[in-house]
């Protein structure tokens, strides 16, 4: 079964991240790289993408003529996707464990974090339970 692990944050979180001291950033980036490598070594990695900061994010809707209407003004509370991983594991519990690992990525001041990771199952075929 495949799960998507979504890393979300408010705009203030992104702004704060951009202000981190260099060594904190480096520690965080090193952690994320090692994390992705671990997923690959474990044979559970399917995909990952990181997204650009939300400054350039636009909400697009079709107007009456079908042309795009864009809006880039978001409420302060809006959560943005920062990036995601897709993993293939044998149980939801295994996906939660992986999510908890990345949740604990080092934060500002090198302190172990606890950022929220949304875990969602990826739709597949009509799969039977394994055991």
């Amino acid at each position: 079964m495949k799960y998507m692990l979504l890393m979300m944050g408010a705009k203030t979180d992104f702004d704060a991240y951009a202000q981190w001291p260099k060594q904190d950033l480096q520690a965080n980036i090193a952690f994320m790289r090692a994390f992705s490598k671990d997923l690959k070594d474990a044979g559970v990695f399917v995909a990952t993408e990181g997204l650009a900061f939300p400054a350039q994010a636009r909400m697009v809707r079709a107007g009456k003529d079908g042309e795009p209407i864009t809006d880039g003004v978001f409420p302060e509370s809006k959560e943005f996707l920062a990036g995601y991983w897709i993993v293939e594991v044998e149980s939801p519990e295994e996906a939660y464990k992986i999510a908890a690992r990345v949740s604990a990525a080092p934060g500002s001041g090198g302190v172990r974090g606890s950022m929220p990771i949304e875990v969602r199952q990826v739709l597949g075929g009509a799969e039977e339970p394994r055991r």
Binding site: R33, K40, G43, G50, E88, A105
Partner: protein, 448 residues
Amino acid sequence: MIGQPFEEHAQNGARREALPNPLGGARRTLCALDPPIETLLRELTPRVLGAVVRRFGDFAAAEDAVQESLLAAAIEWPREGLPDNPRAWLTHVASRRMLDQIRSESARRRRENQTALEAAQTSQSQPAEMREDDTLVLLFMCCHPALTLSSAIALTLRAVGGLTTAEIAHAFLVPEATMAQRISRAKQNIKNSGIPFQFPTPRERTQRLQAVLHVLYLIFNEGYTTSTGPNLLRNDLSHEAMRLARIVHKLQPDDTEVAGLLALMLLTDARRLARTGAGGELIPLARQNRALWDREQIAEGVALLSATLPKGSVGPYQLQAAIAAVHDEAAQAEATDWPQILALYDLLRRMSGNPMVGLNHAVASAMVHGPTRGLELLDVLQADARLADHHRLDAVRAHLLEIGGDPKEAARYYRAAAGKTASLPERDYLLAQAARLSGELQPTNDKE
């Protein structure tokens, strides 16, 4: 706190792409070959591997060497024609790779000790020993309970099925590098656990064979249940599982559960064309166009089962096959012999702890004794923690409520089931059921 997740080539975009094939990629898949060559290579794979493992001892390295020999054959045979003795050709190429590897390793270690090389060279001068049952020994190894199911599946498809890593990765929709890693971990695991290349003891045999059948069943299922999309390769997984089950049956003709599994696969796969519509939507058994069922395959499955059941020692695969056969033999859904199916589920329920059996048993009870009886059984099943939050419990309840004449509640449970399923075709189906019932409730409201 938002870190940037990702890895070194984060700016390069899509990383779903498989990594380049380390073997040079001259032939990434065997599927592109002439069918006869491909069939031959797949048939020979486990026997060649068995011979190489027995000669050199190192399963992991032998498996890599055999894969390389298959790729070499895939390049050379179409060009040069088939060798006189394809099996000897493959064994020779694989053995040469093994020797090369041992040589370069001993050179790297700069050791005086040439024992390994000498031993290997000595044994190479002996004729290759081929044993019919090597395939079975390999299956026991690849499906060992010490491996996770996903690694057992991957390793079985490669070492016994002769599929390339790229093909297996495509079939399971994961990057090739991930599948390669899974296979190499499985091999490492075999090495660490000291799983020997030999037949299990008679005492272990039943349990180990069960593990093999379970892996084959899962491979079949992966292909069958996900074959609604355009991805035909996943269909091929079912065929690969059937091919392997046939081999095991040939090697163990007296094992009734092996025959039962093969019969189950034949009888289930026979309905493949009818179980999805033109748009890939799921069509339930009761509404399938039975003219599309593969009669030949049904006949084969029924004959196999009829020859097996009288042998005694009836197990879960035989019972499931028997249930599939009863369905397959009904000319229309209305003609289904539900009392017989119910009796079979009664037996199966006593043998299997699988809660899905309980659900199917409730459906069969409803068909025989009416929906109220079925719904009562569902209330009992609700207490099972493994089922309580499962979409199929809601889906079955919806179905029985509909039969019982409560379309409003039925629609509610179809929607609840749709909210819980992780299968896209199934969600589409469940929502369509709910919409149909809601449409019947409010015929003027076509927004529903």
